[in-house]
């Protein structure tokens, strides 16, 4: 359905290839109908368990083993104490906090794709938003685990919340760590609502296609009796718009608050005002990298190539490169301010970052986050899935090292030289981080297998058949547009030139 207009020209010169005034179809392939979209997505969860894709079974077995290892390590940690980690004077925030920030960062792209791209009418989001939202929730689960067990005595973790207690004390609401509790728990629950709400119509689709009783009951209850009523759709779309509008500032606030954990302290290298935007940019960057890492194999294995198209990959690669440059800019500005500010401790902290005893971590970070994504200037490389996979994975590695560099280099060289030290992780640190991937991928693979991976109803709205063609109806739809629901806004009609 991709349209090439041979008469297209720009400045008198004929244009090669596709006319940029014509948007390519969001769902690719000939003769795609509503039914084929439903079929493509729903059949992923409907194949019998024995005939599940082998890659899924192998991946799930590995993930589940890692999850089991994580469980055993948690028992070891809780019964023995946090001394099993490498955290010690002066680096009391070791890998657990690095991992926390790493996973929370990944958890940002889901809401960004769902909410920000929804509000900006980027209709291409429909192909990937569901999986990205799921990724968000599972990443936040992994993120929440680390500070949860880092507090040491997990059985009094409820002290984090303002609950009446026999000590008649309240938590200190001026502590960024308490802001973090509120921000991350709000983000987790709102993301869960957003994800689940988006799934309700698709769960109804799976319910109506279900042939055996367990599926009928499970999807029947989960779909809450959704009937597709237009009066329901009306309120649903309004609620979805409201959630998107609420989630957009939320997603920006969460990583800002995470950055306050560092920035509100006085440790050189942390005490900078650039941290909130810098962290948010890094979060989007790492989140998109993880979306690519997950989506490229998933679309391959589950036959969703016509819904999650090469154009999606292409757009996300471009976002990856743009946010990578934002992050690179933040690295540069940090150095500039350290020099320009003239504070000797700050200057030392940054020179130490790049050339001190953690120089290797710093340069891994710069290579992976700033240098490697630059190859996406080339369209050819953006469309080479091996390159995309490689760069998305190195970006994840680079972003983990960014948090490691921020946390560990500053702490290991604080104000008092007598307490300087070198942080070494223990085997428990490493295996728990590995285990958190087990937790993440177990949940994600279960999601891929049993829930609607793609927002079926939303994809249908961006197909040309979703729009009334009668002259009468078109006029009325335009008049309705300002107050109406933005899903499937008129710009999606593929052959129209209204966006020129």
């Amino acid at each position: 359905m991709t349209t090439t207009d041979p008469s297209a020209s720009f400045g008198g010169k004929p244009l090669k290839g596709q006319d940029p005034r014509v948007r390519p179809a969001l769902v690719e392939g000939e003769n795609e109908s509503f039914a084929t979209v439903t079929e493509a997505v729903a059949k992923v969860s409907e194949v019998p368990v024995p005939s599940t894709n082998k890659a899924w079974i192998v991946g799930f077995a590995i993930s589940l083993s890692l999850l089991g290892m994580l469980g055993l390590l948690l028992v070891h940690l809780i019964t023995t104490g946090v001394g099993v980690w490498g955290n010690n004077n002066p680096v009391y925030w070791g890998w657990p906090i690095v991992n926390f920030v790493f996973w929370v960062g990944i958890g940002h792209a889901g809401t960004l794709i769902s909410a920000v791209l929804f509000l900006t009418r980027q209709n291409w989001r429909t192909g990937v938003n569901r999986a990205a939202e799921a990724m968000t929730i599972f990443a936040v689960v992994c993120a929440g685990m680390f500070p949860g067990v880092h507090i040491g005595r997990v059985w009094v973790a409820y002290w984090l919340f303002p609950l009446p207690n026999q000590m008649e004390m309240w938590p200190n609401f001026r502590s960024p760590l308490l802001w973090d509790v509120f921000a991350v728990s709000t983000y987790a629950s709102v993301s869960l609502l957003f994800w689940y709400m988006g799934m309700i119509p698709d769960l109804a689709t799976l319910r109506d296609r279900a042939v055996n009783t367990p599926r009928k009951i499970a999807y029947g209850i989960a779909a809450l009796g959704w009937s597709g009523s237009s009066r329901h759709w009306h309120r649903y779309e309004r609620a979805y718009l409201l959630l998107a509008a609420l989630a957009t500032p939320l997603v920006l606030s969460v990583h800002s608050v995470v950055s306050f954990d560092f920035a509100v302290s006085q440790v050189p290298g942390w005490h900078t005002t650039i941290f909130p935007p810098y962290f948010v940019a890094g979060a989007i960057f790492s989140g998109f990298a993880m979306v690519l890492t997950l989506m490229v194999p998933a679309r391959q294995f589950f036959g969703l190539k016509h819904i999650i198209t090469m154009n999606h990959i292409d757009v996300m690669c471009r976002i990856l490169m743009a946010t990578g440059m934002l992050v690179g800019y933040a690295y540069a500005i940090e150095f500039f301010i350290a020099w320009y500010g003239g504070v000797q401790y700050e200057t030392f902290a940054f020179v130490n970052r790049a050339f001190g005893n953690y120089w290797w971590a710093y340069w891994i970070m710069v290579s992976c986050n700033v240098i490697f994504p630059q190859i996406f200037w080339s369209k050819k490389l953006r469309r080479n899935l091996w390159v995309v996979m490689l760069v998305s994975i190195t970006t994840n590695i680079g972003m983990w090292f960014e948090r490691f560099v921020i946390t560990v280099t500053s702490l290991s060289r604080d104000f008092v030289p007598s307490s300087w030290g070198y942080f070494s992780p223990t085997w428990v640190d490493m295996c728990m981080f590995l285990g958190s991937f087990g937790l993440f991928f177990t949940l994600f693979l279960l999601f891929l297998r049993f829930l609607p991976t793609v927002a079926i109803a939303e994809v249908k709205t961006v197909m040309p058949q979703a729009h009334a063609h009668g002259h009468d109806s078109h006029g009325s739809s335009d008049s309705h547009a300002p107050s109406g629901a933005p899903i499937g806004g008129g710009s999606a009609a593929p052959a129209s030139k209204q966006d020129a």
């Binding site: 609401f173 709102v190 109506d208 209850i221 608050v257 109803a457 979703a466 309705h480």
Partner: protein, 444 residues
Amino acid sequence: MSDQNQNSSEIHGVVGYYSDVDGIMNASRKIRDAGYKKWDAYTPFPVHGIDEAMGTKPTILPWIVLGMGLTGLCVGLGLQWFTNAYDYKFLISGKPTWSLPANIPVTFEVIILFSAYTAFFGMLALNKLPHLSNPLHKLERFKRVTDDKFAICVESKDPNFDLARVSKLLGVGSEHVETCPIDTTKAALPIWFHGVAAILTCASFIPLALAFKGRFATSEKPQYHVWPDMDFQRKRKTQTAWEGFPDGRAMRLPVAGTVATGELRDDFELYHGVAQGTAVPASVRYDAALFGSAAGADRPEWLAGFPAAVVVDEPFLERGRARYGIYCAVCHGNQGNGVGAVALRAENLDAAKWGWVPPKALHSDNAKAYSNGELFHIASNGISTMAGYSAQVPAKDRWAIVAYIRAIQATQALDPSAAPQDVEFQPVPTIDSVRVSDSGADGE
């Protein structure tokens, strides 16, 4: 017509099916224009412009969300104000207990939390979901409405409902028209379910009740230790017994001859009041029998003068006067006559019957007879019922007090005949004179 009514009471409504968006848009307009109220269009996705075609009014959901967002604002601010500025004031580096900027992040999150929950649950409530039992879901053909078909159902509850007319209206451009029967299946929950539900509901209150009991009741039982290794550590505490060492103590004594920092008292004159290199008297209360004139050969070689470490000059005497006023005068009186505030009080209470020995007048002959070393030893270790002051007063200050006592002895309670006659003579009060007059309570 009666036959028609009979039918309409047994059916839920009439359903027309359409294969595309245009079909359902046109049918919706027709039903809307025919004035029906109890009807709905069912679509696999939100169809753009169908709200207008159906005449749906905008939902009030945004206003509800706004209201709850404002509630979240108040709750967020109120929670922080109550907990940190009112009920449990946090005083950190002298900062004000209530300062808005630090409270904005949490307030913001609470606003979002309230608004988002309201948007989701408000949407469900307005849509009357969850609603698992819907007669339309019994229709096999209706299942495709969540896939690729579009449907309109006009319900029999509509006051204008007329089966033939509705069927005709829905039939234009439709694939199929059918009636939807009322759901007559008796799918009531089994009776045991209610019992189990009731028991579980009651049981769910038990943790809350236990929490409340723990909150408001007291108990003699020790605290329950979830993880005892922090409360009960594998170590021995000081001043406890343990059979692990031969002496049965859990703590170790210092090696014999250990001297703590600053405690090396090798200047005998300064610290013990005896000549350097002679026997050091035990640090016990002064025993007149042992150390007085009756002591004989065991009498330490008390220092007659002052140690070499101190210089007796005016500032030293001034220091002694100040220390004397702080530590000694409450009993011995400012004039050294033994009429301090404590002595007077003890006299009034007749404290001698409890073993109280009155403080001596420091200018008595007995006191004058003591050497400087003995006076220092008494100031350090006490005498009779007087306690030693070595813990409170450093050694040099005790020597300053000794010097001041000598000054008292040189200037107080002199022979009246030797006093200058041009000064109005006032005898120093004694404890007896005070008792008789009962007026010089301040001892001056």
